[in-house]
C-alpha cells in the first residue's frame, strides 16, 4: 500500500487549542461596535391571516428603536432555497407558530426581546393541519397551491412479476418522529452595512454561499456586494444549512434600513420554535422474497411531514426514495415518496437527510423478513447486499469500492454476533440482545443537486514558505479545518505546520455550494489536488533552476524538492523565497465538480449519486422488562470510508453520530400543542448524556473510491444513519415483539410486552 505523510494519520485538531482555552470567539462572543439588537416577532397561531400588528405597547418600552417587516424589503420577499414558497417576512398569511412577521430593533438584546413580547398580532385563524394524514385529507384552504410539496418515484423491472416470483410477501408500516438538532450554539448573525449599499454578514452557519444569494435577492443588490463570513460555529448538523439564510437576510434588511450593525441571536426557545427539524416519516413496505432469502420485489411508499414550507423537502424526499431499499439488490421495485405541507415549523436538513428514516424502514423490514424465513438477519443481508458490478434499485452499476458486505462481516465478528440473538441475564427482569443495521449513503448532492456540486480552494504560498488555504465549505465541529490542512500538506508534500486554513468567507473562493451531504472531504480534497496540480509545474521550474537540473529530475517529498539523480535538495522555505524574488505566481484556485450524472427523474432511474459510503452497526441493548427502559450497552460500527483522512476524526464522527442516533431512537421527543413546541427545554427534550451514551467500537474499512481524493468518501452522515434501526432491531429481538415506531420509550416497550401478538 502507498504510504502517505498525512492522509490516514491521526492528526490533532488545529482548532482544538482555542477551544480548550476559551479563546475561540463564537458569534455571541464577538464585540460589535455601535450595534443594535434584533428579536423576531412571529405568528402565535399555526395558520391564519394577519389583520393587524399593534406596536403601541412595544414602542413605549425603553430601548425600542424600530420594527422591520415586509414593507422594508428592498428586493424580493422570498427566501425559499429550492421552491419559491417561503416569504422572508410573512404577510398576510402565516403558516406556523414561528412564521416570522418582523423584527423588533432595540438598543439591547434584552430590550428587543421584551419589546417583541409586547407586539400584539391580530389574526383571523384558519383551520390548521399537523399530520400527514390530515394534510392529505384537506379539501380546501391548502397551505400552498396544493398540500403536496413534492414527489419522487423509483421504478425498476416489473413489480407485479416480481411479486409472482416471491415465496413470501411481507408487509409492514413504520413511522419515525421529528428530531431537533439542538446544536448547542443557537442561530445567530451580525449584519453590518458597508459603504455603497454593500453589506457584510458574519454568522453561525453551514452555507455562506446560500446566505450570500439570499441576502442579495432580498436587498435587491448584486451578490458581489454581499460578503458572508462564517464565525466559529457551535454545531449545526444540517440545522444551519438553509435556516441561516432567513436569519441573515432578516438582519440584513434591518441593517440596511437602520444603517447600523444588527445582531440577531435566537433564544433557545425561539430557535426551537422557529427553525427546521428532521422530517417525520410514515412508511409502508411490501417486500417479496424467495424461500432462499433472495429479495425479488419491493413496493414502498414514503410520506414526509414537510411542515409549513418546502425548504429542503424535495431533496430529502429524493434521497429517501433512491435509498429506500438500502444497499441491497432488488430486481423489481416501485417506490413513491411524497412530502406534505402542514402547519408545523418547516422540516429540513438534519444529518442523514431522510436516510435514517428510510433506513429504519428497510432495516426493520430485513429483520422482520429474516424472522419470517427463520434466517439469521446477518445472513439474509449478506445474501442480498450489493457487491461490485451489481445494480442499485435505480439501476446504477456499482463498479468500484462496494465495501457493504465487508462492513457487515466486520461488525458481525467484532460484536460476537450469535444467531439466537438474546441472552437472559441472571434475573428474569433484564434481557440483552444484539441488533444489526446496514446502510449506504450517496455522497454529495446527487443528480437532484448536481448544478451546485462544485467546490473550490485558493492556495497561496507566502515568501517565508508558509501557506494559506481558503476553502468554500466550513468547519462546524466535524473537523474540516484539520482535514483540509492534512490534505493540503499531502498534496504539496510539505510540513503541515506551514499550513493555515482561513475562516470561510465568500470573498476568498468561488461559490462552493453547501457544506452538507458529507461532501467536504471529497469536494475540498479534490479541489486541493487540482490546485496542487496547477502549482506543481511552477514549483518544478523554480526548483530545477535552484538545483540546476532538468525539471524532469525534480521530485517533491518531505518538505523539500530534490534532484532525483544527485540527491541534492532545497527546503520549501528557500524555494518559496526564490519564487517570490523571481515573480513566479504563488497562488492559485483549485476547482472540482462531481462527474455528470445520467438520471431519469420521471422513472428514478440512473446514477443517483456518484459514489456511496457503506456502514453496518450492531447495537447491544439491555431491556428492563419491569420498567420498559432500554439501555444501549455497546455499539460496534464498521464504516467503509474509501480512505481515512484523519482516523481519529472519523471515530469522533461515528461516536457522535451514534449518540445522536441513540437520542432519536430512545428519548428525544418534540411535543407540539397546536403547533407550539411544549418540550423545548433539556428537562423535557431529553438529549443523551455521558451516562446514556454507549462505548462505540469503530472499525474503519477502506475500499477506495477512484473519484475521491486519495480514494476518500464522506463519513459525517453515515455515522448516524443505521443507529436507530440497529437499536430497534435489538429491542425487537430482546423482547420477541416487533417495533414499528420511534422513539422506543419505556411506555412503548411496556405496551408491546403486554400485547399478545408478536
Amino acid at each position: 500500500m502507498k504510504k502517505y505523510s498525512y492522509i490516514g494519520t491521526a492528526q490533532n485538531r488545529i482548532d482544538a487549542a482555542g477551544k480548550v482555552t476559551g479563546e475561540t470567539k463564537f458569534l455571541a462572543d464577538l464585540p460589535v461596535r455601535e450595534a443594535v439588537f434584533a428579536a423576531p416577532v412571529y405568528a402565535s397561531v399555526p395558520y391564519g391571516r394577519v389583520l393587524s400588528v399593534d406596536l403601541t405597547k412595544a414602542r413605549k418600552y425603553t430601548g425600542y428603536l424600530d420594527f422591520i417587516s415586509a414593507e422594508d424589503i428592498p428586493g424580493v420577499n422570498e427566501v425559499g432555497v429550492i421552491l419559491q414558497d417561503q416569504p422572508l417576512f410573512a404577510r398576510p398569511v402565516v403558516r406556523y407558530v414561528g412564521d416570522t412577521i418582523g423584527l423588533i430593533i432595540a438598543d439591547t438584546a434584552t430590550a428587543a426581546l421584551n419589546c417583541a413580547r409586547q407586539v400584539k398580532i391580530d389574526c383571523e385563524p384558519y383551520r390548521p393541519v399537523f399530520t400527514i394524514e390530515d394534510s392529505k385529507q384537506m379539501t380546501e384552504g391548502f397551505l400552498h397551491d396544493s398540500n403536496l410539496a413534492c414527489e419522487h418515484r423509483v421504478e425498476k423491472g416489473d413489480i407485479a412479476r416480481g411479486f409472482e416470483l416471491a415465496d413470501h410477501i411481507i408487509e409492514a408500516s413504520f413511522s419515525t418522529p421529528a428530531q431537533e438538532h439542538y446544536y448547542l450554539e443557537p442561530q445567530g448573525c451580525i449584519a453590518v452595512p458597508e459603504p455603497g449599499g454593500k453589506i457584510s454578514i458574519i454568522a453561525s452557519l453551514q452555507c455562506p454561499f446560500y446566505v450570500q444569494k439570499a441576502v442579495g435577492r432580498v436587498l435587491g443588490i448584486p451578490y458581489a456586494h454581499v460578503r458572508v463570513e462564517q464565525a466559529p460555529t457551535g454545531g449545526a448538523f444540517g440545522g444551519k444549512e438553509d435556516v441561516p439564510s432567513e436569519v441573515c437576510a432578516r438582519a440584513a434588511v434591518a441593517a440596511r434600513k437602520i444603517g447600523k450593525p444588527v445582531q440577531l441571536i435566537y433564544t433557545r426557545n425561539d430557535d426551537i420554535q422557529l427553525t427546521s427539524k428532521r422530517h417525520p416519516f410514515t412508511m409502508q413496505y411490501k417486500v417479496g422474497v424467495t424461500k432462499a432469502g433472495k429479495l425479488v420485489a419491493a413496493q414502498i411508499l414514503l410520506e414526509q411531514n414537510s411542515g409549513a414550507y418546502a425548504t429542503l423537502s424535495s431533496v430529502v424526499s429524493y434521497r429517501a426514495s433512491v435509498q429506500a431499499m438500502g444497499p441491497y439488490v432488488v430486481p423489481n421495485v416501485s417506490i413513491l415518496s411524497r412530502s406534505y405541507y402542514t402547519n408545523l415549523p418547516p422540516n429540513g436538513a438534519f444529518r442523514g437527510f431522510g436516510s435514517p428514516q428510510a433506513t429504519f424502514g428497510h432495516e426493520r423490514m430485513m429483520d422482520i423478513i429474516a424472522r419470517r424465513l427463520q434466517m439469521d438477519p446477518v445472513e439474509l443481508r449478506l445474501k442480498n447486499i450489493i457487491r461490485e458490478n451489481e445494480e442499485t434499485v435505480t439501476g446504477q452499476k456499482i463498479s468500484h469500492g462496494a465495501g457493504a458486505a465487508e462492513t457487515l462481516k466486520r461488525a458481525r465478528d467484532a460484536a460476537g454476533w450469535n444467531s439466537s440473538g438474546t441472552s437472559r441475564l441472571s434475573s428474569d427482569r433484564y434481557v440483552t440482545a444484539l441488533g444489526v443495521a446496514t446502510c449506504h449513503y450517496g455522497n454529495c448532492l446527487g443528480a437532484a443537486g448536481w448544478s451546485l456540486d462544485g467546490s473550490a480552494v485558493h492556495l497561496s504560498l507566502l515568501r517565508d514558505g508558509s501557506i494559506t488555504v481558503a476553502f468554500g465549505l466550513v468547519e462546524m465541529g466535524q473537523g474540516a479545518l484539520t482535514a483540509v490542512a492534512q490534505m493540503t500538506a499531502e498534496a504539496l508534500a510539505v510540513d503541515i505546520a506551514r499550513i493555515t486554513v482561513l475562516p470561510t468567507s465568500t470573498d476568498q473562493v468561488p461559490d462552493s455550494g453547501p457544506s452538507v451531504a458529507s461532501r467536504n472531504i471529497v469536494m475540498t480534497g479534490q479541489a486541493i489536488l487540482n490546485a496542487a496540480q496547477k502549482l506543481r509545474p511552477i514549483l518544478r521550474t523554480a526548483a530545477a533552476r535552484l538545483l540546476d537540473c532538468e525539471e524532469s529530475e525534480v521530485s517533491f517529498a518531505g518538505d523539500r524538492a530534490s534532484n532525483t539523480l544527485t540527491g541534492a535538495h532545497i527546503g520549501f522555505t528557500e524555494l518559496a523565497d526564490f519564487l517570490y524574488l523571481n515573480n513566479y505566481p504563488m497562488s492559485t484556485t483549485g476547482w472540482w465538480h462531481v462527474p455528470s450524472l445520467k438520471f431519469d427523474a420521471a422513472k428514478g432511474a440512473g446514477e443517483a449519486y456518484f459514489t456511496y459510503s457503506y456502514a453496518t452497526h450492531v447495537a447491544k441493548v439491555r431491556v428492563d422488562k419491569l420498567t420498559g427502559l432500554v439501555k444501549v450497552e455497546k455499539f460496534w460500527a464498521a464504516h467503509d470510508v474509501g480512505r481515512a483522512v484523519n482516523p481519529a476524526g472519523i471515530e469522533g464522527q461515528v461516536e457522535g453520530g451514534v449518540t445522536q442516533g441513540i437520542g432519536w431512537a430512545l428519548t428525544e421527543q418534540l411535543v407540539f400543542d397546536e403547533g407550539r413546541v411544549i418540550s423545548p427545554n433539556l428537562s423535557t427534550y431529553l438529549l443523551p448524556t455521558a451516562a446514556d451514551s454507549a462505548e462505540v467500537d469503530t472499525a474503519i474499512l477502506e475500499f477506495p473510491e477512484p473519484e475521491g481524493p486519495w480514494g476518500a468518501r464522506g463519513i459525517g452522515e453515515p455515522a448516524i444513519i443505521p443507529v436507530a434501526a440497529a437499536i430497534a432491531n435489538a429491542v425487537s429481538r430482546a423482547v420477541g415483539k416487533q417495533f414499528y415506531q420511534l422513539p422506543l420509550t419505556p411506555e412503548s416497550v411496556l405496551s408491546a410486552l403486554s400485547s399478545i401478538s408478536g
Binding site: 482548532d15 476559551g22 448547542l184 471515530e651 469522533g652 445522536q660 455521558a690
Partner: protein, 162 residues
C-alpha cells in the same frame, strides 16, 4: 451577610482567575452575564440558561457551579475560576492538553464547561473509572462528540498521575 447599599446596585468584590475585581453591578445580574459582559470572559458559554446543560460551568471556591443559575452578588468575597484562568502563561493544564491529544473537541461549545467539570472531578477523586466519569459528567451536555473521547481524556489524566 451581604450589605446591599442600594436596592439596585451592589459593590461586588471578588477574585476572578487570581485577580481581584471590584465592580458596581446591578443586583439582578447573573454571574454568567457578569463574567461575559462585564469582564469579557466569553469562554463561559450559555446554552440553556436553566442549569441543565453545564456549558456555563465555572469553579466557585473550587467547586463547579452553573453560572446561569446564580447572581453575581452571591459570589461576593469568593474566588472564581473560568476557563480563561486555567492555563497560566500559555501552559495548558494536563486536562486541557489531554482534550487536544485525545481528540475530545469538536465544535467546542460545550468544552469549557466539560473541562472545568473534569478538573473538579480529578480533584475530588484519586482514581476514576470510565463509568464514574460518565456518571459525574452527566450534567454537561455535548451534542457532537458522543462523550467517548471526553471520557478518554479525563481517564488518561486520572491514570497518568497515579
Amino acid at each position: 451577610m451581604l450589605s446591599v447599599s442600594n436596592t439596585d446596585y451592589f459593590d461586588l468584590e471578588l477574585t476572578v482567575n487570581g485577580t481581584p475585581v471590584r465592580r458596581r453591578i446591578p443586583t439582578h445580574l447573573r454571574l454568567l452575564d457578569f463574567l461575559r459582559e462585564e469582564l469579557g470572559l466569553t469562554g463561559t458559554k450559555e446554552v440553556c440558561g436553566e442549569g441543565e446543560c453545564g456549558a456555563c460551568t465555572v469553579l466557585l471556591d473550587g467547586l463547579t457551579v452553573d453560572a446561569c443559575l446564580i447572581f453575581a452578588v452571591e459570589t461576593h468575597g469568593m474566588e472564581i475560576t473560568t476557563i480563561e484562568g486555567l492555563s497560566r502563561n500559555g501552559n495548558l493544564t494536563p486536562l486541557q492538553q489531554a482534550f487536544i491529544d485525545h481528540h475530545s473537541v469538536q465544535c467546542g461549545f460545550c468544552i469549557p464547561g466539560m473541562i472545568l467539570s473534569g478538573e473538579q472531578m480529578l480533584r475530588d477523586h484519586e482514581q476514576l473509572t470510565r463509568e464514574e466519569i460518565r456518571q459525574d459528567l452527566s450534567g454537561n451536555i455535548c451534542r457532537c462528540t458522543g462523550y467517548q473521547k471526553i471520557v478518554d481524556a479525563i481517564e488518561s489524566v486520572s491514570r497518568d498521575r497515579r
